[in-house]
Amino acid sequence: MTFPPNSIGLVQPQQFTFAQDEPFRLESGATLSPVTLAYETYGTLNADRSNAILIVHALSGSGHAAGYHAGDDKPGWWDDCIGPGKAFDTNRFFIICSNVLGSCYGSSGPATVDPATGEPYGLRFPVITVGDMVRAQAQLVEHLGIEQLLCVAGGSMGGMQVLEWAAHHPTKLKAAIPLATTARHSPMLIALSEVGRQAIYADPYWNNGAYYAADKKPDAGLAVARMVGHITYLSEESMHQKFGRRLQTRERYGFDFQSEFAVESYLKYNGNNFTRRFDANSYLYVTKAMDYFDLSEETGSLAAAFAHSGHLKFLVVSFTSDWLYPSYHSKELVRALTAVNADISYLDIQSSWGHDAFLLEVDTMTKLIASFLERLAQEENVGLPDIRYKQK
């Protein structure tokens, strides 16, 4: 197979298992043992291990952020921004991306077999939080021999993990890039999550999460949950541009209940597609983790949550048409970070793509991220990796 010229090419998924002896304690008080994280790395670690960047993914993402798996014709989810000469330049930085705890792309989650019973956990899997996801990532980073990350970057739920790193593990990183995100899941976001979860609960094949051995899975429920999600990732303007009131195949209205509008076909296609790649129970766990996310809860204010993060450098980005994580959430974050004297750059990028913009506005994002990382590398004296060993 030939790859595009600026692609990392073939990449290998890896796994790290920990907490075999000492169980991993979760925020809820429950424990998990063992814990597995699926991850990938791109680029080369430099001599003093100072060029490591952790990429954190959104709700339905995976550890496969860039490059190609053997036999796949589609690259990882952020391939536009990760690779040689791209925003996260793999010639210069060592990139790590791991699948979050509770997800279904190789990390421990409800579909994982519970060693105590020999059956998949299902709903016996403990409820996890964004804080738990990040503490698990911290174990992985330590396992890779990295004391301090140069940067943690991600959008949407990835952005929440970035903020969790910055607020609760401030000595473990030098910079943070939270994109299209919030420091506090709003009631509207919780409501939207709940609609998705209710669709799954209402599916008769869900069976309280015990469907792994059954012939049928709660695909209809998961598809509806995903459709709701997709609506929230777009904007009214981008829907006008993308679909308008166009009919998908018909010339005129059918006066029946077949899906006929282009936007209906889009949602149906994406909803169904999602059921082939995502686990319904994981959808419940990951959305629940997002709903619990509120950095100001413990300390009373956002500025207090970042009281020990004043030495970090931040690049905060929001998008004008994002109504899921609107710009004012990012501005609130910027205010809190300014109050603790953090070094902060912030831009609200003009875009009509809605929340999806963080994956689509590649040109502007590349300029911003590449320049920010360039400055960071200079100020922190980050040496280039010795890539001679990697050349084949």
Binding site: K313, L315, V316, K331, V334, R335, T338, A339, N341, D343, I344, S345, Y346, L347, D348, I349, Q350, T364, K367, L368, S371, F372, E374, R375, Q378
Partner: protein, 210 residues
């Protein structure tokens, strides 16, 4: 009063910005309000080793600043100032913007809360050419670097050095230093600045009550 520490040297900086750069102390903490494409801030970071921060409204400006490796946040002046704790900076800079402000007194007092000194630059509409222009043509003069009348989306208020000096007295602001420019060069005369100066640079600080 005029105290230029170094001759106007860097051709890439606008003359009034070069004066501002000369007033800023090395390794100080600087906030540039409305920093545009970041030319002044980049100059200060490189040549004076300052800790520089910027606030800029336009996307193009912020993008240009980040590409220069500067730390700049998007926002307006009120947003830019309100979030900073007291005395976060040694110098807060506002160049060529005062004529556009609705509440210049409030903004400058905020600048002096956030910074020890405020450095402002503005065109002097008392300059003799501007006076003559109005007298002869009966039309308002066009100040250098200012948008033509009716072509700007924001209204601005013309004032002179004498007006601004009175403004500072009204708002209990101490003028620490003044530098005057004409044709991009320091004004040679030490008198009649309200007539001879085209551009003014004022370094301001809070009035100390004794």
């Amino acid at each position: 009063m005029t105290n230029l520490q170094s001759p106007i040297s860097n051709a890439t900086l606008r003359p009034d910005l070069q004066v501002v750069a000369d007033l800023v102390l090395p390794k100080s903490r600087v906030l540039d309000l409305g920093c545009g494409d970041g030319s002044l801030l980049a100059h200060l970071v490189r040549h004076k080793r300052v800790l520089g921060r910027g606030v800029e409204l336009s996307e193009a400006g912020v993008l240009a600043c980040v590409r220069r490796g500067l730390s700049v946040r998007q926002g307006n002046l009120q947003e830019g100032l309100a979030d900073y704790p007291d005395s976060s900076f040694d110098f807060v800079i506002l160049s060529q913007t005062i004529p556009f402000l609705n509440e210049p007194g409030t903004i400058i007092q905020e600048m002096l809360r956030v910074g020890k000194q405020a450095i402002v630059t503005f065109p002097n509409w008392g300059y003799w050419r501007y006076r003559l222009h109005l007298l002869v043509n009966g039309r308002f003069p066009q100040a250098t670097d200012y948008p033509p009348h009716w072509q700007s989306d924001r209204r601005w208020q013309a004032f002179t050095i004498a007006d601004f000096t009175e403004f500072c007295q009204t708002f209990n602001i101490t003028v620490r230093q003044r530098v005057y420019l004409v044709g991009g060069q320091p004004l040679k005369q030490s008198w009649g600045e309200n007539l001879w100066a085209e551009t003014a640079v004022f370094a301001l600080e809070k009035q100390v009550n004794k």
